[in-house]
């Protein structure tokens, strides 16, 4: 895909139209073209080229411009949220970030600050954009916590980047073409929508904040559709309440990553007059199914005609309609492996299908209902965490005798992460909290609760799904 050509085309055709809008900036196609070429030139001077693998940790509008610069230079890239840890699964050659990273050498880090911006503005535009070296060049890596909760990466070739934008994602299936994306920029959803918007010369709307800025965006621009995880949509509702904002123009709310709870749906209905949709899919294969949430009806997801989906038993025999089993699905052009992870590949990509680790069934209409997870992985609005990983941090803290991580629903209907622990006399709560802050970036434990004993069933398993009810009694909780 000729990204340099596309940038130039829209910079020439509609220079003053908005290419990119977030909570703090508006960037036109002309500015985008100039910025990207200047950034690319600056990076090229600093030895970033087609052999480089670059990680960006930047706010979304900056991230998109740097990413496009890396694309036209032909470098490989991936994005992570600002302040993330770098893991062993994918080590970049360079880091471009707003801050230094404890996991990465300073001399290979570009700090994006006012000096960087000054340098960009003083740099000439890149003269010729080499682009990706070949169609099978590893252009982009995407992080996924899916299936197991452990960090994995998918690699997308230059050729498949183009194929990616030819398919619609859940956020584009309903409403007009002007939608607001609340997904983090590094995610496949957000990246794909950004690239597709560029290819069609449309504005990419995004926001990383859930305060007064978000209602401002909704009121200023002709946004009719909003998509994000239940947590993100919940935070958006908070911001609408806090600022007393009404958004009568918004017609559609699409939630993906995980299913919203009834309480969340009620909150949306109280504050917005919009149709609510739940979509299902994965970083690995993209959009799978979606349905409107209609009061008083239990509807299943309408499966994309591009997807072949089956419900199977443990021996991979296809189950009849109505029976709960393991979900597996496939698409014509799909990834077949995780990057550098044979074990995960063998586990989740089998027999030309992807196994997302979900359980579910097909109803008589052939619509999909999700029933749960095949393993104990908890799904917090698309962020999947293995409870063992959470518990191991607690168990490694002095004074903690036993621990159980479990999901709980707060009083806004959002699924949050809670930790129950059994302590002895040397336990200091602040130490435990500090440890989580240090070792668990991007994931927040909403409630720490001290218990006498962790409940276990006869097999020694923790009944995580029911733990909130056992510990707190029924009903939603607030921390």
């Amino acid at each position: 895909m000729d990204i340099s050509g596309i940038l130039n085309f829209f910079a020439s055709l509609k220079p003053d139209a908005l290419a990119l809008v977030d909570d703090s900036s508006e960037i036109t196609f002309s500015q985008l073209d100039t910025n990207v070429r200047r950034i690319a030139q600056l990076l090229q001077i600093n030895e970033i080229d087609t052999s480089s693998l670059v990680c960006t940790m930047l706010p979304s509008t900056l991230d998109w411009q740097v990413t496009l610069a890396l694309h036209i230079l032909g470098a490989s890239s991936f994005s992570k949220p600002v302040g993330s840890r770098l893991d062993e699964a994918l080590r970049p050659d360079w880091l471009i970030s707003t801050q230094l990273n404890p996991d990465f050498p300073e001399d290979r880090t570009f700090i994006v600050d006012s000096n960087f911006e000054k340098a960009v503005n003083q740099t000439d535009k890149l003269k010729s954009a080499p682009g990706f070296a070949s169609p099978d060049f590893p252009a982009r890596y995407f992080f996924t916590s899916g299936t197991s909760g452990a960090a994995k990466y998918l690699v997308v070739t230059a050729e498949n980047l183009l194929a990616k934008i030819k398919h619609q994602g859940s956020s584009e299936l309903v409403g007009d073409r002007d939608g607001l994306n609340l997904w983090q920029f590094g995610s496949t959803q957000s990246y794909r929508v950004a690239l597709r918007s560029l290819n069609e010369g449309r504005t990419f709307y995004t926001s990383g904040y859930y305060d007064y800025r978000l209602p401002k965006i909704l009121n200023k621009y002709p946004i009719r559709t909003i998509s994000g995880s239940p947590i993100q949509i919940g935070s958006m509702i908070d911001s609408l309440i806090q600022t007393g904002t009404k958004v009568p123009r918004v017609r559609n709310v699409i939630m993906g990553g995980s299913a919203p709870t009834q309480l969340q749906i009620n909150r949306i209905r109280q504050h917005m007059d919009a149709r609510i949709y739940n979509s299902y899919g994965s970083t690995e294969l993209g959009f799978v199914s979606m349905h409107e949430i209609v009061e008083g009806k239990t509807l299943g997801g309408i499966i994309s005609p591009e997807v072949k989906l089956e419900i199977v038993d443990e021996k991979n025999s296809v189950l009849p309609k109505g029976e709960v089993g393991i979900i597996r699905y496939a698409k014509a052009k799909m990834p077949r492996s995780y990057f550098n992870s044979e074990a995960a590949t063998n586990e989740y990509f089998q027999d030309d299908f992807f196994y997302p680790g979900d359980l579910g069934f097909l109803d008589q209409l052939g619509h999909l209902h999700i029933s749960g997870r095949t393993n104990e992985v908890m799904n917090l609005g698309g962020v999947k965490i293995s409870p063992e990983k959470i518990e191991n941090i607690a168990l490694g803290t002095p004074g903690v005798l036993d621990a159980a991580a479990f999901p709980m629903i707060d009083n806004k209907g959002v699924i949050r992460l809670a930790l129950a622990y059994v302590k002895d006399s040397v336990f200091i709560k602040e130490d435990l909290q500090a440890r989580y802050q240090k070792e668990l970036t991007g994931i927040n434990i909403s409630k720490f609760v001290e218990v006498e004993e962790i409940p276990r069933n006869e097999n020694g398993k923790i009944p995580r799904a029911n733990l909130a009810e056992i510990i707190f009694g029924s009903g939603p909780r607030n921390d």
């Binding site: 130039n8 619609q168 073409r177 979606m290 591009e306």
Partner: protein, 475 residues
Amino acid sequence: MISVHKRLEFWAGLKPNELAFVDGKKEITFAELHIHTLQVATILNELGIRRGDLVCTMLPAYLDWPIVLALQILGATSFAKPTTANFDSYAEPRWLIASKEHSQFSTQNTIVLNEKVAEKVNDAKLFVPEVEPHNFTQPIRLSSTSGTTGESKYLRYSAAEMHPRLVTPSGVNFLGNGKFLNLMLFGAAQSYNWAHRCLLEGKTFFMSASTNESNFEYLQKYGIETVYGSPQQISALLETADKFSHSLDEKYNLVIGGSAPSGKLLSKIREKHKCAIYNSHGSAETGFISMCDLTVENSPGLIIHPNSVVQILDENDVEFGFDRVGYIRYKIPHASNSYLNNPEETKKSFKDGYFYSGDMGYKTKDGRLHITGRSNEVINFGGVKINPEQVDGLVLAETGVQDAASFALDDESGIPKLAVALVVDHEFDETAFLSSLKAKFTRAVIAEIFKVNSIPRNPNGKILRRELSKKFSSK
């Protein structure tokens, strides 16, 4: 690739009550389109239409679209013609589906859509399409394309050949919120492709066969901000705007396709409307190629889309450098490479993977394309080559000239002379006109002036110069 009934089923499941297709006052939801298409398929199948049959439709768009989709599901090949059109030897259909019988076509194989058929369709069961995998390589559609010669040529597509075009955005997709009102005939390749693209993406396809006041209602009602049409259609729409005092403000985009708009039309728009004006350029053979913003005067030329490769050549196919006028050829991935049953025209227009559009033009250093006229209209006056579009431009700038077309008129000896047909108003003064032109244009003399009521154009807005030559040579 996904079969059309699977797509219909998906949208009907996900958003049954949203609009799939709007043709003037007729609205069709996704659920209706899904059910109706499968019912139509059942009836057409009962009436004898089979896989591989070539079927011509002569219908208004809201009736045509479900039938075209049903024919695709049945594995038949469809093509559309205006009701008044005649048939030709390049595409001889086995069936005709129309609102009334056609004098040139067998009654036996004509399906007239009357109330009786409509009733049958409403009572019909849903057709059960063949089990996947579907055959995507069989032809589903013929698109006719008529150059200035007036001769029909056909392009043939399978679903597999058409798909890459549908997933590639073009022209109108680049503007506003992507919603647009299409004024082009539904049978045109573009309209058909856009309707399919809308179905692929689950968006509403808006079209209108008229240029009357209701179009302004539609813009309001559906929140459409972009209108696409040929220069004539746009011009007619603006006359309606004048009549009913509508004005298109900054948020609207007028996209003119089919042929480049005249300076006159552009100044008319600029004078009364604040909307943006674009010219979208391409062909039925290739699809979208380039585009430019004409909102303000002195456009620097068409911006070539990065998917397109455009070359300017001399007569021996040698590429010219910048700023030299020559023959235009271009290519994009997935363009057509032949005309159906017409090797002669195929040879003329398709070579080395390029399409020879018959346009003349040049490219500037900044990569922009300027189209100066048609190669096959270049009039050769004894070695002096005159581009009639250039003459049109000069003539149109004269006082009292509303519309104009220059053309070649053979004298008794068969030597061409330059003639112009003019649509004039009361301000027109022939003597002043001739002397002004003589001063402006020295390469040839305008030998004859014919005052006419209107300039003949094809549906894409291209002037039918040969028709004028033929008409006036006998006088």
